[in-house]
Each structure stands twice: as structure tokens, then as C-alpha cells.
């Protein structure tokens, strides 16, 4: 039985539910918040409330956004005919961080994982197909993780997109990451790198 007041214990329990935070860390954070001025500590509560009330999925690409459509989908300088399909909003942010991609996105909100019971109906596959059926899309780039489930999801989408012969289906290149060393690459990475070699 804990000796903490119920409200402190509640806070610690909630913090400990966050990923990577155990009871010791929760205790430390709780006491840090207790030491802060009320207006400072309540900023965290306000931020959590804001994010849960304002953030929603973009009705076009399913990215997380405050405005609908999101700033990418509503950007007239973006190529609306080029759609990069990613698993999670985090993947979209990683691609955006390169500053090189000028198309738009479609976030699946997961990947097909038969062993975990995640089916195509659990993802935003239907909205993607509706988007393609609208006729504005000319290329779909598979930006899914290069693992068994990611590849399976890409193949599933490719099969669905086969009924749109005017839509080109591509996938992100694979192989050696820049800045890495060949001696540390596993055989899958090297096999992909050899298969996807480019003319210099």
C-alpha cells in the first residue's frame, strides 16, 4: 500500500502507463510537477487537452492535423497526382524532413498483420482506393517499411491498384543506408543493394 496521497498516486499511475516510463520515473516526474508553479504544471495538462481535442485525422490523407484538409493536402504547390503511401504519421514526418518530396501522402494507420489480427479493413485502404478512383492520381509510391508485413501490405495494395492501369505503382529504393558501412550490412540489405544497383 502506497503512502502517497491519492491524487499523487493517481498521477504516478497515469505517468507510468506512458511508454518507457516505469514507476520510479513516474514518481520523479510527479514530484517535479509538484514543485513547479501551478500555471507551469497546468501547461502540460492544457497541452494534453489541446492535442486530444484539436488533433484529428485529415479527411484526405489521414495524417494528424489541426485543420482539415491538412496543410500538405491543401498546399497548391504539391503534386496531387503523386501519392506516397506510408504506415504511420511518423513515417510521413521522416519523409517530409528530407525536404525533397513534393507530392502528397496517404497514411494507412498501420500495416496488414495477419498474425496480430490486423486486416485491410482496419486500415485506410478503402479511402486510398476512393482517392485513386477519383482519377487525380497518376503514381502511388509504396513508402512502407521493408519488412515481411510491410511488403505484404504493399503487395496487397498493388493487387488492388492493378484495376487502375493508368496509375503507376512504385516503391521507395532499398539498399545501403548513406553513411553506413558494407561490413555491417546484413545479407538482406546487401541483396537489395545489389539488385537495385544504379548506373553511375
Amino acid at each position: 500500500m502506497s503512502n502517497y496521497a491519492q491524487s499523487i498516486q493517481n498521477l504516478m499511475n497515469e505517468l507510468a502507463r506512458l511508454p518507457g516510463i516505469g514507476m520510479r520515473s513516474a514518481e520523479r516526474i510527479a514530484f517535479h510537477l509538484l514543485k513547479q508553479k501551478p500555471e507551469e504544471a497546468l501547461k502540460l495538462a492544457d497541452a494534453i487537452r489541446d492535442v486530444k481535442t484539436r488533433i484529428r485525422h485529415c479527411s484526405v490523407c489521414y495524417n494528424l492535423t489541426e485543420q482539415d484538409p491538412c496543410h500538405i493536402c491543401s498546399d497548391p504547390s504539391r503534386d496531387q497526382g503523386l501519392v506516397c503511401v506510408v504506415e504511420q504519421p511518423k513515417d510521413l514526418l521522416a519523409l517530409e524532413a528530407t525536404g525533397l518530396y513534393k507530392g502528397v501522402y496517404h497514411v494507412l494507420l498501420g500495416r496488414i498483420s495477419p498474425l496480430e489480427g490486423i486486416e485491410p479493413a482496419d486500415l485506410t485502404v478503402e479511402p486510398l482506393m476512393r482517392r485513386v478512383a477519383s482519377g487525380t492520381v497518376r503514381e502511388v509510391i509504396m513508402g512502407l517499411n521493408p519488412n515481411m508485413e510491410g511488403d505484404g501490405t504493399a503487395l496487397h495494395l498493388q493487387a488492388l491498384l492493378a484495376s487502375y492501369p493508368n496509375v503507376q505503382v512504385t516503391r521507395l529504393a532499398r539498399g545501403l543506408p548513406a553513411g553506413s558501412s558494407i561490413e555491417y550490412a546484413n545479407r538482406n540489405i546487401l541483396a537489395d543493394a545489389i539488385a537495385g544497383r544504379q548506373k553511375m
Binding site: P114, L115, M148, G152, L155, P177, N186, R187, N188, I189
Partner: protein, 263 residues
């Protein structure tokens, strides 16, 4: 704690945190193992990783892990990828069949119970599922798995009266009685699934084929018209026997109308 080394296939994976994974491995010498791979996705800037960048489903690798049968979760300390099945990943049907094989192994084997021949068989099967012969290869593996784990249903004699079916048309298959039933007994067995006699003979002949170095020899070429009903029959049977629903049959076996499960 003592470290063990084994050749393993990854049957299940769960991304535990940003960098760590919990895996179900099928080890050649150690059977089913659940391991925690701490920092599996962590790499140095040059790309070095103790786990070859993380373990993926169906990967074959050389694993080093703590081994204590009293513990449910072992710790993976090293993983060297031997085969990542890139060919398999180019075909959705091959992926689903391979994942179904992994699901069956993970539910039919007990933890820490080695099955060396079955391991060799699975390693060979995963490679062969990327070829045009995947349907018959999978069916042969499924039968071998059932035989090795003691789940093979009776296919030669009626499970009700004992009459040998060989050569005679069967009255059907009973999942609850784990085998075929003859025409005389079909009226008293209520969970009967109809079974085409030609498909029953095919199953019987597959079980008689010689095996060598992890593969069934002289495996006949089969079509999905033959393998789909048999996979459906075996899936119905094993799900009934285990008392649980498996996930991959929905991806591997096309649905049919009620009452024609194995026709």
C-alpha cells in the same frame, strides 16, 4: 547465466519499444522460445548492430540467448541473419502460406521441445514457398507438422467402426473424431464434412511419399482446386481440435458456401 546458441526461425514478433522486440523463435535444438531482444533496432552510425538491425518474421538466423527452462522469457544477446527470404516477399500468396506455416508451428509445438527434423523441414519449406510449387510444398509441410506433433487425423480407417477406407469411398471427415468415416457410419456422425474420395486418396498418397533431408521426395504437382479444399479441411479440423480460431486460414483459404467444406 549460461548462453546457448541455436539456428532459429522467427515465428512471431512484437515491437516492445522503439528499439526492443519480443520474439517467438523456433530453435533447431531448443524448440519454441520466447526471447526479448533489447536494443534490436539500435545501430551505430556505421551500421553495426548486435541483432543485424532487428529480427523480422520468418527470418532464419544464428541466435545466442540466455537459456533457462524455468523462465518464460529468455534474453537474446546476438542475432546473425542467415536468410531473410527476399524471394518470398515478392508474392503475397507465398507470404501468407509462410505465415500460416509459422502460425501452425507456434500453436502446435510446446515450448523448449526440440523437433530437429521439423525444423529442417520448415527451413526447406520457407525457401520452396517462393517457387511455383508452393501449394504442394505447403500441404506436404502441413501434413508433416501434424504427424510430427501427433495431430495427424486418421485417414486410412473409419474412426467410428475401424473399417479400412483405402480404396473405398469415404462417407466424410469428422473434426470431432479426428478422421475419416465410412459410408456405413456417416449417419451417426453429426459433424461430418463431405470429402471428395479423390482428395482423400491424394492425402493418403502424400503421407506415403518418401522424405529426405527435410523435403518430401517425388511430390506431385497440385493445383489450388486440389489444395484449397484440403487446406480448408485440415484448418477446420485443427481449429476444432485446438479449440481456437487461427488467423491465417482466412488469408490462405478462399471462403465457400456452407455445407461444401471439402468438396
Amino acid at each position: 547465466m549460461a548462453l546457448a546458441r541455436d539456428r532459429c526461425i522467427c515465428l512471431r514478433k512484437f515491437e516492445y519499444s522503439e528499439t526492443s522486440q519480443i520474439l517467438t523463435l523456433f530453435g533447431r535444438e531448443h524448440g519454441l522460445l520466447r526471447v526479448m531482444a533489447k536494443g534490436a533496432h539500435r545501430r551505430t552510425k556505421a551500421g553495426a548492430s548486435k541483432f543485424d538491425g532487428g529480427v523480422d518474421l520468418l527470418d532464419l538466423g544464428q541466435a545466442v540467448f540466455t537459456f533457462d527452462t524455468a523462465r518464460e522469457l529468455q534474453t537474446l544477446t546476438e542475432w546473425h541473419l542467415l536468410e531473410g527470404h527476399l524471394e518470398l516477399r515478392r508474392d503475397l500468396r507465398s507470404i501468407y502460406l509462410a505465415l500460416y506455416a509459422a502460425e501452425l508451428v507456434s500453436v502446435l509445438l510446446e515450448a523448449h521441445d526440440p523437433h530437429r527434423e521439423l525444423f529442417d523441414r520448415m527451413e526447406h519449406t520457407l525457401g520452396a514457398l517462393a517457387t511455383p510449387r508452393r501449394e504442394e510444398v505447403f500441404l506436404a509441410f502441413e501434413l508433416e507438422l501434424f504427424r510430427e506433433t501427433g495431430y495427424l487425423p486418421e485417414l486410412n480407417a473409419c474412426v467410428s467402426c475401424g473399417q479400412v477406407i483405402n480404396g473405398l469411398p469415404a462417407g466424410g471427415f469428422s473434426p470431432s473424431r479426428s478422421g475419416v468415416i465410412c459410408r456405413n457410419c456417416e449417419a451417426v456422425v453429426h459433424d461430418r464434412i463431405s470429402l471428395d474420395p479423390r482428395l482423400l486418396r491424394l492425402l493418403q498418397s502424400l503421407l506415403r511419399l518418401p522424405r529426405q533431408q527435410g523435403a518430401t521426395q517425388r511430390l506431385p504437382q497440385l493445383t489450388r482446386h486440389q489444395t484449397d479444399p484440403l487446406n480448408r479441411l485440415l484448418a477446420t479440423y485443427i481449429q476444432h481440435t485446438l479449440g481456437r480460431r487461427l488467423r491465417l486460414p482466412d488469408y490462405v483459404i478462399p471462403p465457400v458456401q456452407a455445407g461444401t467444406l471439402a468438396r
